[in-house]
């Protein structure tokens, strides 16, 4: 009974806490809400007219939505890089970062699910996919696997921080025997979600650009570069805008992870490029299209030639200790690395898979404004959810939100 009461009180306190804040906080949330509303309006147009309002066609049948989905699965998986040292190896440096990381994972997963739903032709019959109620093509379909692992990961990443925060809220220590098994599971699971998502593409013999054994490992490497890079940027913002103290040491340790992952990612990129261009076969056409264009169709060139130099620049800068340890350089590197991998793992991966088509037809894809706004809306949704989660957990961690200690609400100033 007492537990339920405490939980209700936590929900109430958090609701109060996230609706109060500084002017910057309110402006930020209003800004996100406006973007979300525009996105929702555009989605309503899409619902009404069908997916014809997007740039997708029978020739290129997946676009911006699935690109972002793929990238965000990686961001979600990256939370594990912080969970493991903190909970399993008891590395205290990461403790502040890990709740943020898991909040980021939750936000990224919700965005993933939103992107998948936005991409569906018939969202009203999505219940066909619910195991037990619908018909679930398990284990044959990789998409069925993906539904399971993404929702499972979402559950794990909600429940572990919730348990820890709830204990802290009541002024108690979280029991290691409860969350350690969950953390170990989530570590394995994080690798699983990204590998399964890679298998989604890897398993298609129809698309030689994806049907490539390196795809899975490269997904992991790029995810463990882009995800922690985003976490570093978020931690930097939190340090600036809240009283939550994050040590330089923590950020530098995460930077180490980013560096190693980016280096591995670069090695795999070289391996992939070598295979495609040293002895080009018919199956290298998609890579040719991506990097050089085919028959004068060059829509992806500006993107990929932005991504590759940014990727190399960031990796080289991060490799030097002196540069990496300079926080401003580090933030810059993280930002360009994030952008580079977003292009590479999103657009640069999904679209060339369809070009040229099964019979060599080269039809290009350009997203429409409706598609772009729905995408921005979903990103805003993610940022909105993350801000709320982060604010609450920071409040609890700082001791501002405590069971039977209501007066803090009025004194806080975040």
């Amino acid at each position: 009974m007492e537990t339920i009461k405490a939980f209700m009180s936590m929900v109430k306190d958090s609701l109060g806490y996230i609706t109060h804040g500084s002017r910057t906080y309110h402006i930020w949330m209003i800004f996100l809400t406006v973007i979300m509303l525009i996105g929702m309006y555009c989605y309503s147009i899409q619902l009404d007219e069908g997916l014809s309002v997007t740039g997708m066609t029978d020739r290129v049948s997946w676009g911006l939505y699935i690109s972002n989905f793929t990238f965000l699965v990686g961001v979600a998986a990256a939370a594990v890089m912080l969970v493991m040292p903190t909970y399993v190896l008891h590395d205290i440096d990461f403790k502040q970062a890990v709740l943020i990381g898991e909040g980021l994972a939750v936000a990224a997963l919700i965005m993933c699910l939103a992107f998948v739903v936005a991409d569906m032709g018939g969202p009203s019959v999505l219940w066909h996919m619910i195991p037990g109620i619908g018909v679930f093509n398990f284990p044959n379909s990789m998409l069925a696997w993906d539904v399971i692992v993404l929702n499972g990961y979402l559950f794990i990443n909600i429940s572990i921080p919730l348990y820890i925060l709830f204990r802290h809220y009541q002024g108690k220590e979280a029991k290691a025997s409860v969350y350690i098994p969950g953390s170990i599971l989530s570590v394995l699971w994080a690798v699983g979600i990204h590998l399964v998502t890679a298998f989604l593409y890897e398993g298609l013999q129809a698309r030689p650009f994806w049907n490539n054994a390196l795809l899975g490992p490269r997904f992991l490497a790029s995810a463990f570069a882009a995800g922690p890079a985003l976490i570093i940027l978020v931690l930097a913002a939190i340090r600036k805008f809240s009283e939550f103290r994050i040590e330089d040491k923590t950020i530098k340790k995460i930077a180490m992870i980013v560096t190693v992952a980016a280096q591995i990612n670069l090695i795999m990129l070289i391996s992939e490029l070598f295979k495609e261009f040293y002895a080009p076969t018919h199956h290298s056409e998609s890579a040719y299209y991506l990097f050089f264009g085919l028959e004068g169709k060059t829509a992806l060139l500006p993107w990929i030639w932005t991504a590759i130099p940014l990727n190399i620049l960031a990796t080289v800068l991060l490799t030097f200790h002196k540069l990496r340890n300079n926080l401003n350089v580090l933030y810059f590197c993280c930002f360009i690395l994030f952008v580079a991998i977003w292009i590479e793992k999103g657009f640069g991966l999904i679209v060339p898979g369809f070009i040229p088509g099964p019979y060599g037809k080269i039809a290009e894809y350009t997203p429409t404004w409706i598609e772009i706004w729905v995408t921005l809306g979903i990103w805003a949704l993610g940022a909105f959810i993350f801000t709320m989660l982060a604010k609450t957990s920071i409040g609890i961690e700082l001791g501002k939100l405590r069971y039977r200690k209501k007066e803090v609400l009025d004194s806080e100033s975040v």
């Binding site: 032709g121 066909h128 013999q205 056409e285």
Partner: protein, 382 residues
């Protein structure tokens, strides 16, 4: 019928108990009379129950007879006529009744109610692949009735299953095809494809003589006089693979391979994720990006649930070898429309069929055999 259902179904108590028995009257054993030659004389059944009973009887019989009859015999099957006649009678009665109701205005809400009822049941029905024969018939009846209510026109919709000892196959004569594209337009008309987006299941690739099969240099969207000098033509469509990658990847089993080899889609079960489209190595699948529109007078009213019935927006569709025709013993529309005789269709299990003759006497090949998809679509030359 005792098999475990894998899907969720709302039971509003409207589907009656008739599904439980082996007979429309609900009895499990004994003679109830509905199987006799003059069922209308005995027992007072409602029109629907009677229709269902006749349906069942006919389906049982045609399933047997189809193994012996082929070609036009199946189409001119007397029993099919009786069934159609009976349906039309019921239909016109219902429409007439509807008209009277509307004019009287007191009960005008009935049609709206019925529409809502049908929509509700259609929204929450199961996967066609896993339906029992009764459930298949029920959904077909609902769709026919729904069309009647909305468009005031009658359509004929079949739910015929695959016949025994039939495996459909297709052969394409590259030497004969001249690129006239009659097959393409016949296909569009037969299969009620969306006219606005000009969806076409068949693509004809125009290739240069002397350069072999260079699909990437071929034009599959030409608008000039054919046959063009120095070119040859090759058609592609869904190849109805024996090991179809599209079926494996579907997360909800909305597409599957039927016993007679046809790879079909349940349009109402499809969630529109387009994973099958990415998985198809032959560009065989099409998606309804908008609401498909066909002018009312151009709608082909001879339909099959798995074939050319009207689709909705946001679902996949593709060539079904004209299931509404092929299962009734006819050739697909593209075969019938081809003026050069380049297209050959038939039962691979029938040793006397033309398709078997082609496979046994010509040098045939298939596309992308290295992918292990085992298409049932062969190419050959004279």
């Amino acid at each position: 019928m005792a098999e475990k259902k894998k899907w969720f179904q709302l039971d509003l108590g409207l589907s009656k108990a008739q599904g439980s028995g082996s007979c429309g009257c609900g009895k499990d054993s004994g003679d109830c009379g509905s199987h006799s030659d003059h069922p209308d004389k005995e027992y007072r059944l409602t029109a629907e129950e009677f229709d269902a009973a006749v349906e069942k009887e006919l389906m049982g019989e045609t399933a047997v007879s189809q193994t012996q009859k082929d070609g036009f015999q199946q189409v001119f099957d007397v029993k099919m006529d009786r069934r159609t006649a009976f349906r039309k009678l019921t239909a016109s009665l219902l429409v007439g009744a509807g008209a009277v109701h509307t004019s009287c205005s007191l009960t005008a809400g009935n049609e709206t109610k019925e529409k809502a009822q049908i929509d509700w049941e259609e929204q929450f029905k199961g996967n066609y692949k896993l339906m029992t024969k009764e459930e298949k018939q029920a959904t077909v009846d609902r769709l026919v009735r729904s069309y009647q209510l909305r468009k005031k026109k009658n359509i004929k919709m079949s739910s015929a299953d695959a016949s025994k000892d039939v495996l459909f196959g297709y052969a394409f004569n590259i030497s004969k095809c001249q690129g006239y594209m009659n097959c393409v337009s016949a296909c569009v008309e037969e299969n009620n494809q969306d006219r606005n987006s000009q969806m076409q299941y068949i693509r004809i690739h125009e290739m240069k003589d002397g350069e072999g099969f260079k699909f990437n240099e071929a034009d599959d969207n030409y608008y000039h006089e054919v046959p063009a000098e120095g070119h040859f033509y090759m058609g592609t469509q869904c190849f109805h693979c024996d090991n179809p990658p599209c079926v494996n990847v579907c997360p909800v089993e909305a597409t599957w391979r039927e016993e007679d080899g046809l790879v079909v889609i349940d349009y109402d079960w499809c969630i529109g994720c387009r994973y099958c489209m990415a998985a198809c190595p032959y560009d065989g699948r099409r998606f309804n990006w908008s609401k498909p529109e066909v002018p009312e007078d151009e709608v082909n009213k001879n339909q099959h649930y798995l074939g050319n019935r009207m689709r909705k927006k946001g679902v996949m569709e593709k060539c079904t070898f004209c299931v509404q025709r092929s299962r009734a013993g006819k050739d697909p529309a593209c075969v019938e429309a081809c003026p050069t005789g380049a297209r050959i269709f038939g039962n691979l299990l029938d040793p006397d069929s033309t398709i078997r003759w082609v496979l046994e006497n010509k040098q045939v090949f298939r596309l992308k055999e290295d992918l292990g998809t085992e298409p049932k679509f062969w190419y050959f030359m004279d």
